[in-house]
Assembly symmetry: C2
């Protein structure tokens, strides 16, 4: 998807772009102010415009309502001020559901109401690898199950990530020193191209604005430099419907140079400059250093934590959707966040999802040329992504409401149970019962019960009936001798007694 | 091992037993007081005696020092009072190391200094199953790796445990009503026989004194009844060197009938009546209801918790040895504490042990006649016990000091690392690095490094050298740009990149 420049017709949630000629002398990034009021009937939205180099100024706008829209520009430069026009917003084309919003407290939906179940992956620096590898990454994503990708704006310097980027975000002198007051439009045009391509593929771009992996000085901009970068980025990209704002990766590793009050202010800038209020999150490094996700400008919880059974705690603490974007990656590097087995990552996905959260994928297999998917993209070398595709199909076949974790019994501390409307999903993981009844619906009604092998990706219908080995009836006890308050259920299903199984229970259709 | 009655020679940590004839009228359990002072030079110990039925009274004593011991009885019955005698305590026979004590804060050793690494199993009600099954259990234990067994004194009523016991601990009338003031000596003689047989096999008897799984009214004795039972039990059994006192299984399920102050008092009775101060612990049900293990009468932490990576927390909280006796059992029943896979139980054992704790085994495979090892004994049907034997061999081949968890890095939150003197053990579990350096000794010295496949039970020597794919050198950064404070180590080992591997590092011999 690309912006449509100076057009008269734009689809709903597409990008209308007004291109204007203006001054190129001085420092237009600092000197020129530009915005426009876009109105539909009595409703007004006011995006900023930006300087795109070579005397070209642009204002982008994403209309969310079909009909006639009008605009008037405002600028401190006469030739950019008071420009007026109108365009017609028409119905969205197939596959365009608008931006993703929070839905039903813990879940997501597109603006048109279509549920969005987040199955993301991470390729931090994929847009800094040059066209050949970047296009290979896009090809890989076409066959992969991921509908969200975490990606950094700024180049990355980290182990396995030593290559220079193709583009730099700021103008540089011969010694490589950046002028943080002058953006490099080519850098941003390239970045936008990739975001637009993701949009066409139905993939949300979870854009990481700050990160600590740096050797070019981008970490060390002063606060005003950060604010200017943030305004410029948001102004350019907010009209892309697939944008999510991730304020940082491992923000807490930057706290010595960017104190907490500054982080809050970053969010305020995004709130002010994004007319569409795209999703906003922030990602921690140290598991004990979660940002306070209850703050009102945080739309959903982005968490990095390996101990996935705690998702209930996070849901309860924040009352927002929980995405554990880094519950460790499938791979074999030395860092423990990048060397869990494929089976373990699939296991963690099931636990996160069944308990009413979402998880993120990544691959960190060592590669002779240091092309690790997690940072550079390329091809998928692992085994988890196919099982994540299988899980996604199962989740998308459930009610739109979204899963909530079963509660009220020790069972659900260790086994994962989720309810979604009349549907239930029980994931056993490392548990391998040969029979099961707990959490199955006991009330009247006909249910289909399926056994799901999460690793081998099979779904087998089961019969519900008397348990194959009925537990002994409990003898009469005094009230005080209740060793276990939950009586064994009388009906259930026979199971194969193997790990990594799940049950799906649905009303008969 | 059996008590030696009225003998002149007894081995160190054997059981000297004085048998005396006395009154059988009235209620000897209530009416007769009996004790004896055993002295070696100026040291005096004073065990109680007990009524064993049919006019027979017994006093048992476990001498811990070779040499001449003298005794004098005290009683309110003249014929039992003032009896004197002496015996010679000689060196212990092979395999007799005395009782187990706490050693080096977090570990155990026998009284003769031999380290004791706890590898326990659970057969709650095995002594209530009749001779055929009980003897089969003993046969199984002979080939199993367990050196401790958790077992209840009182009969058990619970799912899969509905059979009546062979013996009852109290006299019963025709309607099955117990007289809690009259013990059944036959019951205790049988129990002691089994404890003695375990002792001969080198297995510690972790004796569970109270539990909530009851239909006979044993839960509902009043406090004085509990105290009397406790005194009688301790008096009969304390001289068995392999006794550990486990005050209860899931004591918190009994709090409505036995308030917390009463639990503390139980421990005081054991302290008063056990001249040898055997190990004392108490086992929780609800993971949030741990007894305060810092109380001075608690020798070690007995915990029930599935989340085994928390062992560091428990060590830090209590500063005592930690045994996670129930981190769930291998099996396939519906209850989630009894249906984890063999691989998962082996995994939990490795995590507990490498991090400086101990774990307990149990099997809960469904059985047509409800003979589940966890409660009734019989045979082992699972796959974890062989791997636990393998782990035990590795641990017993390490220094006597005992393992301490590695700390100071996020690595050791997710990967398990242990140090024991100059030896190290690193367990990767669900992690599968293809190379590793962290935690390997970097200082001068020659080390043997072995790769351990914890499931397939193989040990393969590795070469330490430059890492097979050396991570890129980190570029110069400003001080503030430290994304990751731990530099990649320059030397390490190549690994197969599979889960469930471990490394053992030892000085070359």
């Amino acid at each position: 998807m690309k912006p449509k420049t100076n057009t008269n017709v734009i689809e709903r949630w597409g990008i209308f772009e007004l291109s204007l000629a203006g001054p190129s002398n001085g420092n237009p990034f600092l000197d020129v102010t530009l915005s426009a009021q876009f109105s539909y009937q009595n409703r007004v939205l006011e995006p900023d415009g930006f300087y795109d180099g070579d005397g070209v100024y642009r204002i982008r706008f994403m209309p969310d309502t079909p009909g006639e829209w009008r605009y008037t520009t405002k600028s401190n430069v006469p030739e950019l001020d008071g420009q007026q026009g109108q365009f017609t917003c028409v119905a969205a084309t197939t596959g365009n559901h608008g931006p993703v919003r929070v839905n039903n407290t813990f879940h997501f939906a597109y603006d048109d109401g279509t549920p969005f179940y987040s199955f993301g992956t991470t390729c931090y620096a994929w847009v800094h690898q040059g066209d050949a590898l970047e296009e290979q990454t896009l090809e890989t994503l076409k066959k992969a199950p991921f509908n969200k990708i975490r990606m950094c704006v700024l180049p990355k310097d980290y182990i396995y990530n030593e290559n220079e980027p193709v583009y730099y975000p700021f103008e540089r002198d011969e010694k490589g020193q950046s002028d943080f007051t002058r953006f490099n439009p080519e850098f941003f045009r390239h970045f936008e191209q990739r975001v637009g391509q993701l949009c066409e593929m139905g993939i949300e771009a979870d854009i990481i604005i700050f990160h600590p992996y740096d050797r070019w000085g981008y970490c060390d901009m002063d606060a005003e430099g950060d604010y200017r970068y943030l305004r410029y980025l948001v102004t350019r990209l907010a009209a892309y419907r697939n944008v999510w704002w991730s304020m940082a990766n491992e923000y807490d590793f930057l706290l010595d140079v960017k104190p907490m009050s500054q982080w809050d202010h970053y969010f305020h800038i995004v709130e002010e400059k994004d007319p569409y209020q795209h999703l906003r999150s922030i990602h921690n490094g140290n598991p004990a250093m979660n940002y306070d996700h209850t703050k009102p400008w945080i739309s959903h919880v982005c968490i990095q934590h390996w101990d996935v059974k705690r998702v209930k705690e996070w849901r309860a603490a924040y009352r927002k959707p929980v995405i554990n974007d880094e519950c460790a990656y499938e791979g074999n590097i030395q860092r423990p966040w990048g060397n869990i087995s494929a089976q373990e990552l699939v296991h963690r996905f099931w636990i996160m999802v069944v308990r009413g959260g979402y998880a993120g994928h990544g691959e960190t297999y060592m590669h002779p040329d240091d092309i690790l998917w997690w940072s550079k993209g390329g091809v998928l070398a692992g085994e988890s992504w196919k099982r994540i595709a299988f899980l996604r199909e199962i989740i998308e076949d459930m009610p739109a409401r979204g899963l909530s974790s079963m509660e009220g019994s020790f069972y659900w501390d260790v086994v994962s149970g989720g309810i979604n409307g009349d549907d239930r999903l029980i994931y056993f993981g490392e548990h391998q019962p040969a029979q099961w009844a707990v959490g199955l619906p006991m009330e009247d009604g006909d249910y289909d019960i399926d056994l799901i092998d999460t690793w081998n990706m099979t779904i087998t219908p089961l019969e519900k009936g008397p348990l194959p080995v009925s537990p002994p009836t409990r003898k009469k006890k005094t009230d005080k001798q209740v060793a276990n308050p939950k009586p064994e259920a009388a009906f259930g299903v026979a199971l194969p007694g193997k790990p990594y199984m799940a049950l799906r229970v649905r009303p008969k259709k």
